[in-house]
Symmetry: C2
Subunit: 430 residues, 2 copies
């Protein structure tokens, strides 16, 4: 289970600080820990000789030898000639992370498309593609079949290029039970209690990489975090406009999941007992103010073509965008109102999470220029401290969740390389 929470032995003294290597460890788990240690050491320090790795990690020669042989077997490390870079003396052999031959895959299943991204261990995007699919109108089995096809084609093409896909994260727009591999409820595609991991795995066959599922907004947050982590931003809120409003929250560099994987549900924050009726049966939930339906009702009368559900959403949003840009009073006021109401709800998330950055995704990103100013003003006016986050919009478009899924899949390689099977002789890269 690549994306599941690491199952380290419990920290029996119940400390509450980060930065510890997993609590207790017997010899077998210590070996896996050390496998990851060496791989991360090589990642962070470039190529190094065996002698240098031994001296810097403090591991014994015998242990190191055996661990390196294991990493080479798994196709994660190669031994090659030192780049001399001006130094004197004879060139020696150095160990390198073999990042180009291993990839993580992310697949998003959304209302009207599938998206697939593959990223290799060096962070390079190898594949990024979308395929229109009216998932909401199709039976679950057909959608799963299409997803499996896309994955199979991608894994084949990667393997043909000498790249081994090691794990897949599937993004779903709904609440999921990651441990059980089930989609609990994904209203926009009309799914309820779908054992997606089982269904997909059955279609992918035995040679396929392991599959986990995750909520699409959480994976969008992961993708945005990969873009800013190098700037030291490890606390962010990703907020995506959909039929409702979804969120993925990064806390100290890690996506927030909660005890059962349901964390980050922001749509039903009760902001006004006298507010509009919500699909959940209550009134004044945040999504009755900033969801797509609310926005369309604010922006146009009922007969207006932008409210015609039979027209493609992108077209209707494009039209509204043009109206707002052209100064149409009603469209301008609607965007402004949604921007301010986004600010009210976001102020709750800012008080609770104290993020450094807020990223808008989905249709919010499309209206970024007009939404961000009223949003940021509301946030500043409601701030309890000077710590007001920067607000920006996503540039990842439809690929946000699949990109995040690919990165999450790769995380398992560095965390626990012992969980990555060695390549089959036939698929070993040349």
């Amino acid at each position: 289970m690549a994306a599941a929470r690491p199952q380290g032995v419990r920290d029996t003294t119940r400390l509450t600080e980060r930065g510890e290597r997993g609590g207790g460890a017997d010899q077998a788990s210590m070996r896996r820990t050390n496998l990851g240690l060496i791989l991360r050491h090589l990642r962070d320090h470039g190529g190094q000789s065996r002698a240098r790795v031994a001296s810097e990690t403090g591991l014994s020669k015998a242990t190191l030898s055996s661990l390196i042989a294991d990493l080479v077997d798994r196709g994660l490390v190669t031994e090659g000639e030192l780049e001399r870079g001006g130094s004197v003396g004879r060139p020696g052999l150095t160990l390198h992370v073999d990042g180009r031959h291993v990839a993580g895959l992310g697949l998003e299943i959304n209302v009207d498309f599938l998206a697939l991204t593959a990223v290799d261990l060096t962070g390079r995007v190898l594949v990024e593609s979308t395929r229109p699919l009216d998932t909401a109108a199709l039976p679950v089995a057909e959608v799963v079949e299409a997803a499996a096809e896309l994955l199979t084609r991608a894994t084949r093409s990667l393997r043909a290029r000498g790249v081994r896909p090691v794990a897949v994260t599937v993004a779903v727009p709904g609440s999921i039970d990651p441990a059980a591999g089930r989609v609990m409820f994904a209203p926009n595609v009309g799914w309820r209690d779908v054992p997606l991991v089982r269904e997909l795995t059955a279609r992918l066959g035995r040679s396929a990489p392991p599959v986990v599922i995750e909520n699409d907004a959480k994976l969008g947050a992961v993708a945005e975090h990969t873009l800013v982590a190098a700037s030291g931003i490890d606390d962010l809120v990703y907020l995506t406009g959909d039929v409702g409003v979804g969120a993925g929250i990064i806390v100290e560099g890690h996506v927030l999941r909660g005890a059962s994987g349901f964390a980050g549900e922001v749509g039903h924050i009760p902001l006004d007992p006298a507010g509009g009726a919500c699909a959940c049966g209550r009134r004044g939930c945040w999504e009755t103010m900033v969801g797509l339906g609310a926005f369309l009702r604010l922006a146009a009368d009922e007969g207006d073509p932008v409210r015609d559900p039979r027209r493609p959403l992108e077209e209707r949003l494009g039209e509204l965008h043009a109206r707002a840009a052209g100064g149409d009073d009603r469209a301008v006021a609607a965007v402004d109102r949604v921007g301010r109401d986004l600010g009210v709800g976001l102020s709750v998330l800012v008080d609770l999470f104290d993020p450094r950055l807020v990223v808008l995704g989905g249709w919010f990103a499309y209206f970024r220029d007009a939404l961000v100013p009223p949003l940021q003003a509301t946030l500043a006016a409601r701030a309890l401290t000077d710590s007001v986050p920067h607000v920006t919009a996503s540039d990842l478009g439809l690929a946000a969740a699949s990109r995040g899924g690919a990165h999450l899949a790769l995380g398992s390689v560095f965390r626990d390389p012992g969980g990555i099977d060695p390549p089959k002789p036939s698929s070993r890269p040349a």
Copy 2:
């Protein structure tokens, strides 16, 4: 800085999963990492021979020797005779964590008391004391002086017993800047922008352990987590009733701090635009419904003695508790109403954090029997998933925050034993 976030080298491939040993590491930081590794290994596996530690950790003999000498120098590990426990053969020497000679300290500064707790590395509470002090009425300098006295007396008495205090966490009821060691704003004690760490350190002298500060509700959450972590509960919300309402949130075993240390501010969730006026200038914030003032207004008319601010709060709450227990309509209705409104606000925290447990502290804990049923019913009615947390009340009383502070202080020992100075010859335990 015991409680500050570990300063590991950045994870340059921007992964977003837990369980990795800190990113890159040069030889010096690898040495510190390995010090912690051995100490935690001994903690989790009891006494072990050098040979066994070498074989299980994979560290070379030379590295291990040097690391163990360092841990012994720092007074964290001792080498003693093996308890044979029925096994045959001659007894050998084994390494042990020397938990009884090292303590973490927590000190709480609150409105009408100071509290101090010392906990040793084995988790035993060595000191737990409170001292009444009208901090809100005294100048900051006098409170700091009293806190320093309490700390000095405790460290002296611990040292006399052969116990070395290694770090202090000071709990303050307000928003703090942990990095700067400043209290930003603590309205209940009337503090604004107090450089508390500097002031305390100046009074404690050079031989004192390092001091960090943290918000009291965050430390209360840490203390509650130490009590349930062994049951596998690593996601909890601690909610404390005060003049307002404070929260400490544990996410995957770690206290939530946010980018600037301000996370967990729950009092001003805007639940009703038509609600009562809040001290923050807006209307309908959660604390206008569940704060102490709201409760007293709901429970009794203005002239009622329980609303007389000159009487001790504990006495007034005791009287209200007796009235509610005796079936007084007004008191019963007030507790029921606060319980339901606690449920409304808590439903937001449940949606966002998906905790396994909610713990009530402060005066909420005092009314636990009457508050929990309406609270739990509201939470269940508002739940979006089946994942409804258990709700309970704290038994730690006034010691919650200082207990949490002591545990947090100890965290630094296992995380980074290299940051713990060796004992001075005079204070070395016999």
